[in-house]
Amino acid sequence: MTGKDMTYARITNEILLPVENKPNKAWWIGFIVSALGAMLWVVSISLTFWYGLGEWGLNKTVGWAWDITGFVWWVGIGHAGTLISAVLLVFSQNWRNSINRSAEAMTIFAVICAATYIVAHMGRPWLAYFTLPLPNQYGSLWVNWNSALMMDVFAISTYFSVSLLFWYTGLLPDIASIRDRAKGLRRRIYSILSFGWTGSLKTWQRFETVSLILAGISTPLVLSVHTIVSFDFATSLEPGWHTTIFPPYFVAGAIFSGFAMVQTLLLVTRKVLGLENYITMFHIESMNKIILLTGSIVGVAYITEFFIAWYSGVEYEQYAFINRATGPYWWAYWSMMSCNVISPQLFWSSKLRRNIPFSWALSIVVNIGMWFERFVIIVTSLHRDYIPSSWAMFYPTWVDVGVFIGSIGVFFTLFLLFIRVLPSVAIAEVKLLLKTASEQAKMKQIKEGHLEPAEVQYYKESLTKYDSVDMADYENV
């Protein structure tokens, strides 16, 4: 945390500023655009439900296309939130404190978007209960517990509900902060939402225990979710899908795309809501480093896949990969390669890592690249199967495009509503940083002479990268 004269009251005031005041113009513009996107989603999904999956561009050969691509893309994006809130908590990385709230919110909204794709893909969503092991009129013919799709039902529903629980429990103290500052109806609403939180000694003690255990169990949960998503493909006999590298490769890709989406959202949120002192250059750079690392893992996975296709000697597998890179969908493959493997390598340069407009642009590039990755895996593997006579191309209809663009609209609508009604930064957790990991506390230590001159020098040098720090304050220190 950076900034001079930071107090507990100032933290509350600054973070609650967007919640307690009328939205500004930037928010309204963003909200209207997102809401229009969400409307497009409503129209597209309604047409899908009314007329059935014939509204999509699917054909006999390519039976899975944009819908599953969108599903995997959103689930992957969701992963970063849990990763930031859970894994970094387990490893006591307290820099997570200022970004975990919005990242978790992003997880929830991304998983909601992902879930809509599954429901839509069912064709007859009113029969969604068929996925549950309920006694029925067929005998009882139960669900097939051997199916990876069944595992997906359990993984995604558990992931969504546990993430929601984790997020909401963490919100309770902050909702109480809003409640105690509000008047009238607002107070009443936030009072109900706060569950009667008081912040007493025992409450906090239990709260911390609960947070730590939830983080501990969410960590393997988040890894299991994308592993199981990859099972949907890996357990099939389709060349290009049937590979054992899929689980770790999907998880790395999920973290990669998730951090890119966090970056896309937070760089804008930080600027618009004036959160420069909480979401600092340290956060931006750390996230960029994670993008670089996971992007490289994904790159290694792509190359390994290609190598193994050749090394296995299986001609179908070999053809699937040659077809990806040089077939009719070569443009998708090379978009994926350049967006996901080549572009993140630019982050080896510390100058680019700390350049905010560049980081933002690159996060968009990564998001596009990760969408292409799923498209390549799904459509190019399917479109040329074992029988050349059934080879086909996939052409999306406008409903396909509408569902996808629309889901982005739904996501941003939810996110924009979230930053208006709930604190986008975990207030209580950021307050913990005030006397430990803040610029102000460090400054006090320096002034009181607790640090070695060499340490001070190093600290000053590392501060130059922060856009929210005025170096003039350090001239005489």
Partner: protein, 178 residues
Amino acid sequence: MSKTKIILGCFDDPDDMMQGITNLQKNSVPIYDIYTPMPIHGIEAKMGVKDSRLGYAAFCFGCLGLTVITSIVYYTLVGDWPQNIGGKPSFAMPDFIPFMFEWTILFTAFGMTLTFFAATHLFPGRAPRVMDLRATDDRFIIAVDAKGNIPHDDITNLLKDAGAVEVKHNERKYVSYE
């Protein structure tokens, strides 16, 4: 007899509040409760609060979830309606592990958190029992029951000595939301 029900020592710094606790404890003044806007590390040991047992609850709920899902899967696919899939055994243990894992997590998370809510009396619609509105903002509050702890001025002085910015003698225990 004064009408004071509760004495609140309001601090603007957690370290001063800890000093306040020390002062009260040295003089054997029992503390009713402490309200803070953030968790204070090390306060449990000082106040003699035992470790939370929610971890045990979490473990039990995890075991319950594992048992429930294992029973469901076993009953449906092995007991009630075994399916012949390529002549393989219907008790396909590796296939069941993801379900067992997911529901262990699901039950642990919900069981533990709901236990936390129940033990702490947190539920939607509960009237917040707030003693000071700034306890969720920037004040660290030590609450002392006024009854039996006299003279009140001594307590006030103990809190002031520790650096309390304000000491309140409230006639009502909770700030009421009208």
